[in-house]
Amino acid sequence: MTHTEISDQKHQERRQRRKRRNVRLLVESLAAPTVAIIVLALWQFGVPLLGLSAFILPTPLQIVERIGTDYRLLLNNTLVTLVETLAGFAIAAVGGVITAFAIFYSRLFERAVYPLLVAMQTIPKVALAPLLVLYLGYDFAPKCFLAFLLAYFPVVIATVVGLKALDKGMVDLVRSMGANEWQTFIKIRLPAALPNIFGGLKVAVSLAVIGAVIGEYVAAERGLGYLQLQASSQFDTTLSFASLIIIAAIGVVTFWAIELVERRAVFQREAAK
C-alpha cells in the first residue's frame, strides 16, 4: 500500500467516525422532543378514546385553541404575574447576595442572622399567604413579597457556599501581590462565587413564580393564579389548563433568561474541559 492510500484510508475512517458522532448527537438532541410529542399524542388521542369531556380533561389542541381565542385575557393576566414574579425575584437576588456578603464578612452577623434565616426557612411560606393579605392588602404587595420570600433563601445559601468554597491559596496568592480586601473580592472572591450565585438565582426564579401564583390564589383580582382559580370555579377546565401552561412557560422563560446571562457572565469551568 502506498503512502497516499494509507492516508486516504485514514481520512475515510475519520470521516466515518465523525458521521457516526453526528448521528448520535442528532438522536440525543431529538430524544426529549420525541418523548414530548409521544406524550402529547397519547393525550390528544387518548382523551376521546376514554370518552372524557373537555370539562374533565381538555385535549392539548383544545388548550392551544383556547390560548388563541383568549390571548388578550391571558396576556393581561400574564403581565400581572410576570411583574410580581420579577419584582419579587429582583429584590430577593439583590437582597440575598448582599445578605450573603454580610454573612461572609461578619462573623457576628452570621451568628446573629444565619440561624434565624434557617429557622424562617422551615416555616411553610404558603401558610403565610393569608397573613400577608391581612398586612399588605389585596394588591401587588403581598404577591411580590411572597415571591421574594420564596426566592430569597436559595440566593443567600448559594452565595454563602460559593464565597466559602474559595481555595484559601487563591487569597494568599493575591495577598502576596499586595491586594487589599476590595481587590481580593473583585478579582477572586466574586468571580469564583459567580457559578454558585447563578445556580441560586436559577432556583430562586422558579420559586418566585410559585410565590406570585400562590399569592394570587389567596386573594387577588388579577393574575394567572387568579384566572386559573376563577376558571376552575366555573368548571372551565380548558382555561384553567391554559393558565397553568402559561405559568409553567413563565418559569421556563425566566430560567432560560438567567441561563443566558450566566453564559455571558460566567466562564464555564466544564466547558473548556
Binding site: 496568592l173 495577598r175 501581590m177 499586595g178 481587590q183 468571580p191 466562564f267
Partner: protein, 270 residues
Amino acid sequence: MNALVGATRKLKGVDVAITNLTKIYQTRDGNDLRALDPVSIAITPGQFVAIVGPSGCGKSTLLSLVAGISPRTSGTILIDGQEVRRPHPKVGVVFQTDLLLYWRTVIDNILLPIEIKGWDRTRYTARADDLLAQVGLGGFAQKFPSELSGGMRQRVAICRALVQEPGLLLMDEPFGALDALTREQMISDLQTMWLSVKNTVMFITHSIEEAVFLADRVLVMSPRPGRIDIDLHIQIERPRSWKSRLESKFVEYMTQIHEIFEARGVLTNS
C-alpha cells in the same frame, strides 16, 4: 522592543536578612504550636537558596512569613533593607499548586499582579509574552488553564511571579504536585530561566536532589519546631545538567544531607 521589559533582562536581586524569626500558632484548643523556632538566615542578592526539610518542619511557614501573608510572632525580616510588615512589592511567590484563575486566560492570569499593583498593563503585556515564549508556551496566551497540562500550568504560574520583575522569588514546593518526568524538565528549565534573570530565590522543597541541583546554598531544616541544621554551599558549576548528579561532589552533598536527616530521625535505615 523596549529593552527595559525584555524577559531575559537581568533582575536586580535583593538581599534578605532574617533574624530570630519565630512563629507560634494558636491551635483550636488554645494551645501554642511552635511552627518555627528562632531562625536566622542572611541571603545575599542574586543567591539561589533552597530550604529542604521534612513535612511540617515549618519551611512553608517560613516562606509565608517572608512573603508577608502571615504575621510573625517575633524576630525581624528585612528585604532590601526594608522591614516586612505587608507583602513586599519586590517579591513574587510561586505556590505549591498553580492557583491559576480558571475564568481567566493564560495572559490575563500572568497580568493579574500587574492589575493588582495598578501598573500599566500594556507595558507589561510584551514582557508577559516574552516570558511565555521563554517557557515554551508561545502560542498559549489566549488559552484557558483547563486546556493546559499540570506542568504547563505551573510554568504559567512562574511567569505570573516573574512578570512583576521580583528582586526576590519565593517558591514553595513548586514542583511537588507534578509527575516525576515533568518535574525533571521543570527543574532544568527553572535553572535556565534563573540563570537569565539572576534574582534572589528562596526555594522550598522536600527533595534533597532538587535542592542540591538548583541551589547555590542549601539550608536543611529539622523537624518541628523548625530551625536550620546546616547551611551547605553547593559548589558545582552551572549550568548543571543531569550528568552533574553523577559527580562525586553532588553525591557528597546529598550524602551529607541524608546523614543529617538520619541523625534527626527523619530518615531511618532499615
